[in-house]
Every structure is written in C-alpha cells, then in structure tokens.
Symmetry: none
Subunit: 240 residues, 2 copies
Amino acid sequence: MPGVGSLLNVTHQVLVVDDDPTVSDVVRRYLEQDGCRVRLAADGLSALAAVDAERPDLVVLDLMLGGLNGLEVCRRLRAGQPGLPVIMLTALGEESDRVLGLEVGADDYVTKPFSPRELALRVRSVLRRTTPAVEPGGGLLRDGELVADTGRRTAELNGRALALTVREFDLLEFLMRHPARAWSRADLLDRVWGWQFGDQSTVTVHVRRLREKIETDPGTPARLLTVWGVGYRYEPAGHA
Amino acid sequence: MPGVGSLLNVTHQVLVVDDDPTVSDVVRRYLEQDGCRVRLAADGLSALAAVDAERPDLVVLDLMLGGLNGLEVCRRLRAGQPGLPVIMLTALGEESDRVLGLEVGADDYVTKPFSPRELALRVRSVLRRTTPAVEPGGGLLRDGELVADTGRRTAELNGRALALTVREFDLLEFLMRHPARAWSRADLLDRVWGWQFGDQSTVTVHVRRLREKIETDPGTPARLLTVWGVGYRYEPAGHA
DNA sequence: TCGCGACGTCCGCACTTCGTAAGATCCTGA
DNA sequence: TCAGGATCTTACGAAGTGCGGACGTCGCGA
C-alpha cells in the first residue's frame, strides 16, 4: 500500500460523475487519500456545469447515466475543453462500450466492477502524463528574499534553505500563487489539503508552523497575515 | 525494458493518420506528453503528402480510412521510404486485417479499441528499436567529476569507470537529463521503468544501489537527494 | 548442470510528520 | 469592563516515510 503523499506540486481536482452515491462516495475517498480534491456530479447536466465552474484537471465519467448519456457528455466535454482528460467507467465486458468510449476520446477506461484502488492508480497515471513537467515560469515563486522553487520543492529565505515539510510547502506554494487575498480555513483545507470537511484547526497549526520558518518574528507576521474572523492572507513583502 | 530517457532529448516526429478527429486528438496528446512532435492527417493522400513534407520518424496509420485504403497507403509509404516504421490501427479482432497489415510491412499493430496509453507505449518501443543511438551532443552527460556516456552506456566518476547495471544506468541517465526537479517514485517508475503501477519500493532500492556507486558518502548524498514525502531529486554537484 | 549477478520484494528499525486536543491569549461588541 | 468566541501555542500519540539488510527468482554464461 503505497499511500504516497501528494505526488505533484499542485493538488489536482477531479470531477467524479456517477449517479450511484455508493460508488462515487468510495471513489471520492480513495482519490482524496491520494491528495486530490474531488467534486461529485450525479448526472450529465450537472457534470457539464461543474466542469465549467470548477475547471477540474480530470473527469471520471460513468457511461451509464440517467438523463444525458455518458457518451454524449463526453463528447460535449471534448468539444468544450479539448485538453481535459476523461477516464470512463464502462459496464462489465461491454466491448462495444469500450469502443465507443475510446472513440469519443476517453483517455482510459475502467470496467465495472472495478477496485477503487485501481481507479485511483489510473487517475494518477493519467494526471502524471497530462501535467506538464516543466512550468512556464520555471516554477520559481519569488517574493523579495523569499523564494520557492516548485519544481525542486525547495524554498529559501535570505539565501538560506528552509526545511519545509510537504504540507508546509504546499501551503506556502498555494498562498504565494494567490497572494493579497483572504482565504478561510475551509478554503485552504479544500484547496491545499483536498478536504471538503475536517478539523479547521489543522490549518491553524500548519500556518503557525509555516510562520515559524518564513517569518522573522512569528508573533508579528509580515507575510502570512491573520484576517480576523475570516482566515489568512499572504501579503508579499517584496520591494518593487 | 530499457529507459525511456533516451527518447526524451531527441524529439521524434510522429504522423498520425486517422479520419476521426476525436481519436487523433487524444493520441496526439499522449504522444506529445511523451515528448514527440505530432502531425495529423485525416486521409491517405494528405498522409502521403505529409510524410513527404515532414519526414516523420514514425507513422500511426488507421486501416479504415476514407478515400485511399489504409493498406494502400502503407504500401506506398514502404515503397517511398523503406525504413519508415508504421504502427497500424486495425479494427476489432479482424484477424485478416492484422495479417494484411503485417504483410504490407507494418512494424506493429494495435487493435481498436485501444487505450491511448497502450498506443503510446508501442510507439515508444518501436522508436527505441528503430532509432539508432546516435545523439547530437555525442551522448555525454557531464556533472563535474561524474560523466555518463549514453551512447556506450558507461559512466565514470573521478576518471574511474563505474560498474552500473542496466537499471542503474537508466535511472542515472533519466535523472541527469532532468536535474533540479523533484520526482515522485511513481513518476520514476513510469518514466524509467515504463510501469504504470507497481511496487514503489523498487525505486527506493535502486536509488540506494545507485547512491552506493555515485556518492562519496551514500549516507549523506550530495547528488541524488531525498525529497521527504515526495521522492527524489538530482542536484548537479558540478563546479563550473 | 551449476554458479553468479541483476532485480524485485519483503521485513524491521529509526525517524519524521501530521492531526488533534487542551489550555492560554487575544479580539470584538455590548 | 466583561463575556464569548476566535486565534495562538504547545504537546503528544499515531501514522507515515525512508533506509538498510536480506531473501527468492530469473536469466545467462561457464
């Protein structure tokens, strides 16, 4: 049981489309354990809406859907966002389904009944393949004397390397990518941890730990500020 | 299964011939993720023209084509450029098609429905088979006192030859080609071993064995670093 | 046939990291 | 000023993670 931590520097968002709550629930748990943020949709129309609103990195799509047919959904997805990877859940051994699925442009398929573990592996595999290895900006996030290298997963302050843990780095990366904006603990729990629910004090503690490392005086933070009653906000300290 | 690393710096060009845009689109994405440049053609005539104009390294050819028959296209390709590898997409289970395909000289065939992942793997393997190991830079990877010769597949440290096994060399080559970036074990398993899934401890062990040979003190590695909770990263130690 | 090296897997140990709980402290509005 | 809630701080146990050692298998050459 690998149970690997977040494998990529950014938490991916996956949309799971299935009208059976039992299935989608299990799938969600597995994917979340893998460090993905997960959204659910029960039918084709809400799936299309969710894709539009949430901009997921990947869609897991059940072929057998009430209302709009899974194939039709897939086709429209492709039309709307050509690059969006789709993994299709097909009924047991329906050869014709596979043909159709792949012709409509699914990236991979998993036949029911499937082990959620296998699905999770496929998702990771497709994501790994889809996510470009090199980022446009070279993966460097810079704020004055604080520099985070997302490719290397290292950070340094005043030229000295910081020993950040996985979570700390993920949190810092997210905040530096979305500066000057207040985020609630629930937001951070969702976007950084990939949890839709959970103990928010987790965020509090990690912010504390991160401050300990990136702030000169953790008591009076200069970058990672508290927004009272709301959450936190990253304020670049960098001079022009 | 030798490393994929060798494919990565030389960009191969692949021509995909299929009259279904949804199929060719997915295929293109996969191949591009693998570092290939991809051209598309929708029918036999434009395929022949494209081969002439673009000089691809490989052709993926759908047997069922509007206009000119796939077999005929293949035959003409062979006539025009005997060395050009062709992977043929054949319809489901049509035994006769396979026979014909191979008789016309296809290097490999994939039956529909295929997963794009599978096709990409075949393309890799065919390219690896057919592309001679000559590289522009002489195939020398240099990092200070550590030099790897990808052509003759040897490495030396401080002028002394290293006895690297196949896997060890593949791993080293991949890492030296993609330095200063954190790779998860799953990434390495995928890109060096060519496995989608599998026991990640395999990577751990090989990293250890490689360290034993390239690091002065394997206990505190200077080049092949552990990124805690993520994986590994190759950090060039080389002075100017 | 035997011996050997390469390779993948497994086990146990040491260490790190994480989430949660609990108490202290701070802020806000009445 | 006071009460109530939000935030901070610390500590701890559980789970995760990496590493070294060792073992079994496979393929190859002697």
